[in-house]
């Protein structure tokens, strides 16, 4: 404890000059003055002592003021120090915030870039609206074409039926004529009148067919060709009639048929 005091005193005033000396001198002069006899000397000494005392007091006052000032400076520094500390912590927090912000921004940027990359790929595919429109147009066309096809098919159907009727009639006629011929050859010359008409017609027909046979054949061939052509034109694939029948095959050459010879023309006019 005393070491500290000694050390402090040496530090402050080790060389003996200044306040310490003044106090020692004051004490010594006080003791001398107490022991002195002469009153005027005593008075001057007394005055001198008062002066020294005033000096000491002044010095002490100064030291006290300096001490106060130091205290206040310390407080000031303390305040500045705490301020700086606070701003440092605030800056650290801000840095942490900014780092989080930057991470968020990087994530956003990454998402944007992923989006862009995907968009690039998607752009290479054609627009959906365009494709839909094209599809609609194609649909319409398809419907139209199927309607046309239906129409044509109906027409073909009709023609087929007509041909069928024609050819079956021809066939029937042929049969009838054959029968008549046969019956005519078997029977006597005086045939009943019911057959007369028929036979006359048949005879005339038969008579005429001698010359017109090739013509008739040709015309029947023509009818055949027309039927086949109609089939080919309107039916690219084999077609079944609703009745379950099959397209009439090539007609056997009828041996006689001028009446039939009229029909091909009639038919040709109607068909073409």
């Amino acid at each position: 404890m005393s070491d500290e005091v000694i050390r402090k005193r040496l530090l402050i005033d080790g060389d003996g000059a200044g306040d310490d000396r003044r106090i020692n001198v004051l004490l010594k002069s006080f003791v001398k003055w107490c022991h002195s006899a002469a009153p005027e000397e005593g008075f001057t000494q007394y005055q001198r002592m008062l002066g020294t005392l005033a000096q000491c007091e002044f010095s002490m006052g100064k030291t006290l003021l300096v001490y106060d000032m130091n205290l206040r400076e310390m407080e000031n520094y303390e305040k500045i120090y705490t301020d700086i500390e606070q701003s440092i912590t605030a800056a650290h927090e801000k840095i942490a915030e900014c780092k989080k912000e930057i991470l968020r921004a990087k994530r956003i940027r990454k998402n944007r870039q992923e989006y862009d990359a995907l968009a690039k790929v998607i752009q290479q595919h054609p627009d959906r609206h365009e494709t839909l429109k094209q599809l609609e147009a194609l649909d319409k066309e398809l419907q139209q074409l199927s309607r046309i096809k239906e129409n044509v098919e109906d027409k073909l159907e009709l023609r087929k039926k007509q041909f069928h009727v024609l050819l079956s009639t021809i066939h029937e006629l042929q049969q009838t004529l054959e029968n008549d011929e046969k019956s005519e050859n078997d029977e006597s010359q005086d045939s009943p009148m019911e057959n007369g008409q028929m036979s006359i017609v048949a005879f005339s027909l038969y008579g005429e067919t001698e010359e017109t046979q090739p013509v008739v054949n040709k015309q029947v061939e023509l009818a055949d060709n027309v039927l086949r052509l109609t089939e080919e034109r309107y039916l690219p694939v084999p077609y079944r009639t609703p009745g379950g029948g099959h397209p009439p095959g090539p007609v056997e050459q009828p041996e006689c048929c001028v009446w039939a010879s009229e029909f091909p023309h009639f038919l040709l006019n109607r068909v073409l």
Partner: protein, 355 residues
Amino acid sequence: MGPVELLHMSVFSQSFSPCGRFLAASNNYGEIAVFSLSSSLSPEATGINQKPILTFTAHEGPIFALLSTDAHLLSAGNGEISAWSWAELAKRNPKAVWIRRPQYKSSLEIPEINDMIVNCRDNSLAVGGGDNNIHIMDLETGVFKSVLQGHTDYIHCLSMREREGELLSGGEDGAVRIWDCRTGQSVHRLEVYKYEECARPQYGKWISCLTTDSDWMLCGGGPSLSLWHLRSLSPTSIFPLSGCQRQAMFYQDLILSVGEGHFLSHCLLGGDVKSLIPCSPPSLNTVALNTNSTEHRVSVTGHVSQGTPEAGRMPGRAATRLSLASFLQVLTVGGSSDQIDVFTNLSYKAFSLSF
């Protein structure tokens, strides 16, 4: 390790410890070196801190794959897989916990293991290598559960698609196959070299680097490094990097990739190459990012002052503790040299660790 050996050394793979304080690196001589990151990154680091704390020979042949699980370091070399305990390695005690070998069909030739990956869902290890198959091993029991067959040439790289539980594998035959882990069937097969925007026939069709983050996949090698969208299986961006890439990874909004060429490439997802950071090895094999460490560095600022007994009013100042975030989150690259570059900031190389 003489100077000639050091000259011919190649670092093939690296792995960080689960605590993030150590780095293990393997080379072509079958050695593994363990470096202490905390000491080499501390402000008082000197040259000695950039040397490994432990180097040991783990296998007879080169070690192409290193992997860290929660407590073990797995290394694959010479056709077998060894496990080392990280706690023991930190104490400089290299003793293998277990050594296992998948069943190979031919016993004459031992196929090398090129890549290993852990499937966290069912705690299994997938190992792919020279015998064109992927062997799945259960980590708890050590039994090799199944074999995924399909590749027609050896497998270079494996990657895990966490969300869907699928395994991706890329191989020398140019095909990236996506396997379903539960059924063991190949779900998709992508032949990257058949897409003309990716293909580089002058380099070949092999795929040497593969990485995925469930929606997107990066693959490269012979064909250029390309970013694929996995749901539509279509390539979205091609990266114009010269040289064949050997490893790539996604990091925040960037793609980091290393390969032939002495630089680490930073690329953006759109297909632009943002920057090429030069590194010391002339050609790079492996890049690894330390994401395991969440440790915060504590540094002391402020001063301690004591009040004098007389003036006793001055309070004692407490030391102010500030923390810098995760100073151990570094990126390391290694390649065909004995130096491993450490990046504390992605933009430049900080220093090199050497074997």
